[in-house]
Symmetry: C2
């Protein structure tokens, strides 16, 4: 019997990375979430600040975010589009995010997500992340009710 080496496509590796990260977010496992980021990640998150520089600052923000969501976390990734080379990749998707509040009511909204990745020592890592909701020009309010 002969061993056959199958080539793993970078696109599939990025898909696995995003799914691993998504599962960690849904499980509210802060260490698992953070394990996908490089130490000097630059993150643009949907709320609170213009940017978060470095994994330590971003950890504090993630902790604050997860504490706002006492019940079950909902974190779906849709329309994932990946552009990947041998050691550099980016991807974008729409995320249905939300959770179940203390009253058991489910509350979700669509967000946009973009990630930039690098393969470092054989492992794909997220080096940049951008999450957002669009806002309405008239009211200045974030638009949570938009549908893809």
């Amino acid at each position: 019997m002969k061993a056959v080496a199958y080539e793993v496509r970078p696109e599939d590796e990025i898909r696995d990375l995003i799914e691993s990260w998504r599962k960690a977010a849904e499980a509210k496992d802060i260490d698992a979430i953070l394990s996908h980021y490089v130490p000097d990640i630059v993150a643009f998150d949907a709320i609170a600040q213009l940017r978060f520089r470095g994994r330590d600052a971003y950890r504090k923000h993630w902790e604050a975010c997860l504490s706002m969501c006492p019940g079950q976390m909902i974190f779906e990734v849709h329309d994932l589009n990946i552009a990947a080379g041998d050691d550099l990749a980016f991807c974008h998707s729409l995320s249905l995010c939300g959770g179940t509040g203390e009253n058991g009511e489910e509350k979700t909204g669509w967000m946009r997500a973009t990630a930039g990745c690098r393969k470092i020592d054989g492992k794909w890592m997220i080096v940049h992340e951008h999450f957002s909701a669009p806002f309405d020009m008239e009211s200045g309010k974030a638009l949570f009710d938009l549908q893809p």
Copy 2:
């Protein structure tokens, strides 16, 4: 005399691409802006919709945006960070955006920008763009007064 071929680094080419695009936006030159995008661009813009699919849809949106800004456009790119390979790249930056209204008053705010690029037939093009402002969890309002 001998001709010397200098190697052009992809990072420098991406810097040139973003500067060219920035100048086009500041000049409100819609054709020049659009010339940086692939026909099937997927764009997440700061306002109005979750996403824009294709250059034609994105052109309509750019036209609407530029018509909201009757005076001089302000479009600065700060802290541009580039990750570039031979034919794939992504970059992020903070943009100071705004304009001079009809009353001559200058109004600007900081936005976050991420772009994904591909080199196609020797030319770098933007295939994905993500612009946003973060919002406040309490009020649901976009945060325009944040400083980097």
